[in-house]
Symmetry: C2
Subunit: 357 residues, 2 copies
């Protein structure tokens, strides 16, 4: 039976980079006889412009029916004035929560060919390979109650709720321990248990789940210290696991350590391993439409998708090897350009990966 | 009339570093005829051990009566098992909230003499001078309701509340704009307004207050992007203003950019400018009692105290110049040691600063 991929180009540079990624998907589909079908749908600001909703019913239905989703990026200043309920980001958050994509895997890997791009000293980041496992469907992103209310004294007050249940923590803990088993066998759980009760429970449940994984070592770190340690000595980490909000912050910091966030894919998985795949970077509205965006994070997201959701490890390996080849050839989009490299456009980068497949 | 300083050594390396800072305070007190009196009290884990409370009544009373407070650091693994309500950190949080020390000023400055210590490339951090203004008595640190409860299905759930009222936001906004006026005249407010309603209100009030400061430029940045930008290009910032939790994370990341968090002081001020002064670093229990901790952040906290709360700018300048002199002399505690420098103990560093005064 054929596998169904839903392609959601989204906003900003989304359509340009997804276009190249789909070319790569088509190529490995043919080469490896994967029997993958794909179709596209609207999400984010572009969906709002067409339909009045950042996550139209039809998109959600197609997403539910798909074996995997490839997303570009959503958002942009054009929609900044909109009410929170219809902002582009709600499209993304709606997909995550409706599909229960609770496990967000964000690798921060330094490609040896791009070592120069980092703002950190080479010895601090050479060989960097961290995996951040971020809880994606709970925490303060989705906690109730939330809103802005008027107090008795007439002033307004904004409020959100940071909440996790034991079962929510348990399942993301398992995702982290399982991932660590395939890697360095170390999990560092990030909390703020000296201040926040919700993370006291988080830490407790992590300890509990750790007992099921005696071959994996669990440690704990406070979130402020984790932010420092990522800057000071990021290679101390193997897998970091944390909640939605801390994960948002730390995974972006970790990605930026590599200096080449344009290279980093991510996966958001549900309990059955179905998932949504997207680059770690955003919609970069400032360079949208110019044909200069880096498509490699999206192309590598296709590789992750093949590996995790479509049972096509060989095709994934082939794509990753092709990306490595084009980097070896000295081809760079503007974001990762350096002295001596050849700066290419989005589509030229796509061409080069296709040629290297 | 004499000015009263309350000295709170706290836990871990706190007593050692505070001892050197008090020697420096005594020296400038004599030299400039400042008529400062000081006494000590217990806080944190050491207070808990003696009295069963991390913030004994007598300490709080003395704190309320003081013109300024000098704090070492609190906390350590020894007290990790305690109930949240009596943990050392509650002593610190209790002081902040009881004294309404809502404005936390955390400079991240790279001392030219210590440029090597940074894990970032020299061109990225040379000349770094950011001020983070963190709201310190509100937000999720103090929000109600909070706790761990048992749900109907028998599982537990942890929850905290992230809440800010307009007046809380307004006063920290003013602190940030006032500080920016004395510096580069740029404020960047950090929020997560694409997801959290409480920070939608935050952003709105920042815009409102900005109108009172037409000479200061206000910009906004999402917290995940701010974490990235601190790593990528920290010199783009002048003053960053944010809430309690984001400020905790970002100020530690910013401090670590310098590679010498052992050098960074902080001030926590109330509406009248009275304040608590402490190093940005923690209680470092692993090196406590060894006499190797860096006292300079605490000594520089004394300088901040003299400048902001004790109206003794000349004395503050003198201390800062003395610290610069000892760095020029090549003296370094272990945390900032580098090739060619002379590694000294905590008390030797104190001696050197005294000699340079
Ligand atoms: C766009 C935004 C809602 C989203 C998030 O905060 O989760 C993004 O920053 C991310 O990390 O995927
Ligand atoms: C000790 C802890 C409660 C405290 C905080 O989180 O505010 C510390 O990390 C700080 O930044 O001063």
């Amino acid at each position: 039976m054929s596998k169904k991929v839903l392609v959601l180009p989204g906003d900003g540079i989304g359509p340009e980079i997804v276009e190249q990624a789909v070319r790569v998907l088509d190529a490995v589909n043919a080469k490896f006889n994967l029997d993958i079908e794909h179709e596209s749908a609207l999400v984010g600001g572009s969906a709002y412009d067409e339909t009045g909703s950042p996550l139209p019913e039809v998109t959600l239905d197609k997403a539910k029916a798909a074996d995997a989703i490839l997303l570009g990026a959503v958002g942009g200043p054009k929609w900044d004035g909109l009410d929170m309920s219809v902002r582009p980001e709600k499209g993304l958050l709606g997909l995550r929560s409706n599909l229960e994509l609770f496990a967000n895997l964000r690798p921060a890997i330094l490609y040896p060919q791009l070592a120069d791009a980092s703002s950190l000293k080479p010895e601090i980041v050479a060989g960097l390979d961290i995996l951040i496992v971020r809880e994606l469907t709970g925490g303060i992103y989705f906690g109730q109650p939330r809103g802005i209310r008027t107090l008795e004294n007439g002033e307004r007050e904004g409020f959100n709720t940071y909440v996790y249940s034991e079962s929510e923590i348990r399942r993301i803990a398992r995702s982290a321990f399982e991932a660590a088993r395939q890697r360095g066998k170390r999990v560092c759980s990030i909390d703020k248990s000296n201040v926040l009760e919700v993370t006291v429970l988080w830490k407790e449940v992590m300890e509990e789940v750790a007992k099921e994984y005696p071959d994996v070592e669990l440690s704990h770190m406070l979130v402020d210290n984790a932010a420092m340690q990522l800057v000071r000595a990021p290679k101390q980490f193997d897998v970091m696991v944390t909640g939605n909000m801390f994960g948002d912050i730390l995974s972006d910091a970790a990605a930026m350590l590599t200096g080449s966030i344009g290279m980093l894919p991510s996966a958001s998985l549900n309990a059955e391993g179905r998932g949504m795949y997207e680059p770690c970077h955003g919609s970069a509205p400032d360079i949208a439409g110019k044909g200069i965006a880096n498509p490699l994070a999206t192309i590598l997201s296709v590789a992750m998708m093949l590996r995790y959701s479509l049972d096509a490890k060989d095709a994934a390996d082939t794509i990753e090897a092709a990306v490595s080849t084009v980097l070896d050839q000295g081809l760079r989009t503007a974001d990762i350009a350096s002295q001596g490299s050849e700066t290419v456009s989005t589509s030229q980068m796509g061409d080069a990966v296709l040629a290297a497949l």
